[in-house]
Symmetry: D2
């Protein structure tokens, strides 16, 4: 697969072809397409991020780095990350957005917005937004 | 890359190898790894989903399906979807979670939890959670 | 209590004195003050808003207006609204923010930002943010 | 107004009468009632919690306790807390939910769910949800 050391410009940053196809099939077989408006999917995505947040809310930052050490927590984290990804991919699909293209554009914007020499070691402060 | 028409079981549902590598490099060059605890990244993900929600909050469901027709809205949507993906991938990376494996497991769980013949045409009601 | 028709400038828009006191006592009795940093409480608030979102995600707007007609949904909605309020009040308390003053300031800002004659019948478009 | 020192059982935990009236008037004058379905307001609430999250995302817990010390951050926090409250109160109003009653019920539930002697000094673990 892609080697970051020899990034050809036409190699995708992500490839979600198969997941997209699986999800389209899953929704179609259940006649769930009627519920999957972008507006509804944004709310579903919100719900999943909320569940992810609940897992981490009382952890210290240090604890959060070791979230994988407890099997139950680790499994819960994996499930929620997957749920976020599933709704994100489904949402992009219903909107006709090519996530690989969108993320490639955003990386370029971010590189211009945050030049390494200028922001090194500094987190964004609210006043900079 | 994966062909959905001949899904071999060992073909990935998603491939994010290159994006992961790009993000690791981006964070390292800016000395931002110190800020990227899973706890912090969950909050950053929340912020991006909030921005996505703001775009769709006053739209009807029908409007949301046409969010791509207005160029400014379309670009905003792409940017926010990319931001959600970026933080999701970075979060998974810091947690050492293989997103492809996590999503494959979740699809199997969902297939068992929602048998097509049983849930056809029905959205989940809150009382079923 | 306050009559909006004779709004004296010193009458509060909200009074949360008793709730604040109850929550301080609740946290103190459980030795939970150690977990209630503003950062953690923002994440807890996120979790509750996520649960609220899950209730409404597959509803049409019309359905959402009748969310009170099904007893189970109605009770779930009340519980989640209460949870959001509880964390919001607790968060404000730990930050030393006077919510009544904050909301009074914000109403003035909003009145200036959205003059009735200018925004009448128009929802904010994303490009206006 | 309520005196926390002599809590009569029929005294409200919160009183939002005036804020509710102000908001109803604000929406009516702008003909914004048409946009304020519960579904839409949940999304607007999500957006505001996302903005709150963005303020705190890179702060340590210790920093978050001192969020009031920087004037710009402090003002931003107040504005976002107010926005969350505004949408929460508006949402409850459109749903016909009495927030004071809802929160009183929830406090009783929480007291039963988390007996002080049992949960003292322990944060909820994910596996307990």
């Amino acid at each position: 697969m892609a080697e970051s050391s020899e990034q050809k410009p036409d190699e995708p940053l992500i490839d979600i072809t198969r997941l997209c196809a699986e999800q389209d099939k899953f929704a179609r077989e259940r006649d769930w397409e009627q519920f999957h408006s972008p507006k509804n999917l944004v709310m579903a995505l919100t719900g999943e991020v909320g569940e992810l947040s609940e897992i981490f809310q009382w952890m210290t930052e240090a604890d959060s780095k070791n979230a994988g050490s407890d099997p139950a927590t680790s499994q819960a984290v994996k499930d929620e990350l997957a749920d976020v990804l599933l709704y994100l991919v489904r949402l992009s699909s219903t909107l006709g957005v090519d996530l690989n293209e969108a993320v490639a554009q955003k990386l370029l914007k971010n590189a211009r917005k945050y030049p390494a020499e200028k922001v090194k070691g500094k987190s964004k402060k609210y006043s900079d937004y």
